[in-house]
């Protein structure tokens, strides 16, 4: 047997190995476009919207309301997930939502929602304090918390949001502006600092 014949099985094994590795890695990274799960979530949702189940949320007044279709004037929601004790990112987010709220004075069909994932702490009173701190106008900006733990965990799971206890009394989570239609379809995700683009996208949808 010549030396070239002796390496043939090895070369065949290598070819299969590299082929399988490229296929698996390409599957995971959506064609080498997303190396983090958060990037993959955004690409997947842009390609195929996620269907969110209807849920009930409690607002600062203590009243309960249904999402996402209960308000006929709202065709598109711009949603962020928050917890009202959040000291850093969420405060910055609050200021971005304040700017969005100002833009919404001249826009129909788009509404903001800050949905808390901290059911243990975010009572209607805590939500009211948060809404007041950020000067949220209830007509344009809903601050609310899901009415049950089951509804909350289903919402987070369906939207692909992962909330971690940061070990210092707070939470870390994959924050983004979620564009959700009145039929409960999560159609796009935007970085918080790209809030203007999120608004333009939502206005386009609401038209």
């Amino acid at each position: 047997m010549s030396s070239s014949e002796r390496v043939l099985p090895t070369l065949a094994a290598l070819a299969i190995l590299v082929g399988v590795a490229v296929a698996v890695a390409s599957h995971l990274t959506l064609g080498f476009r997303a190396f983090t799960a958060e990037d993959a979530r955004r690409i997947r949702i842009a390609a195929a919207p996620a269907e969110l189940s209807p849920l009930r949320v409690v607002s600062p007044t203590g009243a309960s309301q249904a999402l996402w279709s209960a308000d006929p004037k709202t065709q598109v929601w711009l949603v962020t997930f928050v917890y009202t004790r959040c000291p850093s990112v969420c405060l910055a987010l609050g200021s971005e939502f304040q700017q969005l709220q100002a833009s919404l004075r001249t826009t129909e069909g788009v509404r903001l929602a800050s949905i808390s994932f901290d059911r243990a702490h975010d009572s209607p009173a805590a939500l009211a304090a948060y809404a007041e701190h950020h000067r949220a106008d209830p007509a344009r900006w809903l601050v609310a918390v899901p009415d049950t733990d089951a509804a909350l965990s289903r919402l987070l799971r369906e939207a692909g949001v992962v909330v971690l206890d940061d070990g210092a009394g707070g939470y870390a989570h994959n924050a983004a502006i979620h564009v959700i239609t009145a039929s409960g379809r999560l159609v796009a995700l935007f970085d918080l600092e790209r809030y203007r683009e999120a608004l333009a996208f939502a206005q386009d949808l609401a038209r």
């Binding site: 390496v7 065949a12 094994a13 190995l17 995971l28 997303a34 190396f35 983090t36 799960a37 940061d166």
Partner: protein, 186 residues
């Protein structure tokens, strides 16, 4: 908390304790492998090329942040992670019976470079790369990967010192490719 959950709840422990343990388990299995089984593998693993390539690909894959999240999010993916890491330890130990020193140096060097680079990326990233790991856990994993890269290089050198030092005077030249690679130890 069970030991596996304890390992996987922290990014540094997951990558720098659990991964090496699984690889070592695979290597220990290969160490006790019957000669006949090894001969069957050797046919497809000339110069240890397939074994080293397999281990490199598996280790590179599990350094992708999305792969870590996938393993945490799915029991099936996590099982595939255990199996592939044990298999990569098995493949390397088995390949080391055949691989020329120069080929080992290439793969070990390549791994060290990759682990150190990924470690630096983990440390540089401002955001959390994994949905399931906090930024501080990611920082520790990044620093640990850089240390691990150096340790892997030194450990391989220590393990192969005798061969590396003798490879300069070796060279039986019974095989065209082997002499082209420039080293022999069998």
């Amino acid at each position: 908390m069970n030991p596996i959950a304890w390992l996987e709840v922290d990014m540094a422990r997951h990558m720098l304790l659990e991964f090496p343990l699984l690889v070592a388990l695979g290597a220990a299995l290969a160490h006790r492998l019957a000669p006949r089984a090894d001969a069957a593998i050797a046919r497809f693993d000339r110069y240890g090329l397939t074994g080293w390539t397999f281990a490199s690909l598996v280790l590179a894959f599990w350094m992708i942040p999305a792969a870590l999240d996938a393993a945490i999010g799915s029991a099936a993916v996590n099982a595939a992670k255990y199996a592939s890491l044990v298999a990569s330890g098995f493949a390397v130990r088995s390949a080391m019976r055949r691989s020329p020193i120069a080929l080992e140096a290439f793969f070990v060097g390549n791994f060290a470079w990759m682990a150190a680079t990924v470690g630096l990326v983990y440390q540089e990233a401002e955001a959390q790369l994994c949905l399931n790991y906090l930024a501080n856990s990611q920082q520790r994993a990044g620093r640990g990967l850089v240390v691990f890269a150096v340790v892997a290089l030194v450990a391989w050198f220590a393990l192969r010192a005798r061969h590396i030092l003798s490879s300069a005077s070796a060279g039986s030249g019974d095989d065209a490719l082997r002499s082209a690679i420039g080293s022999t130890k069998s």
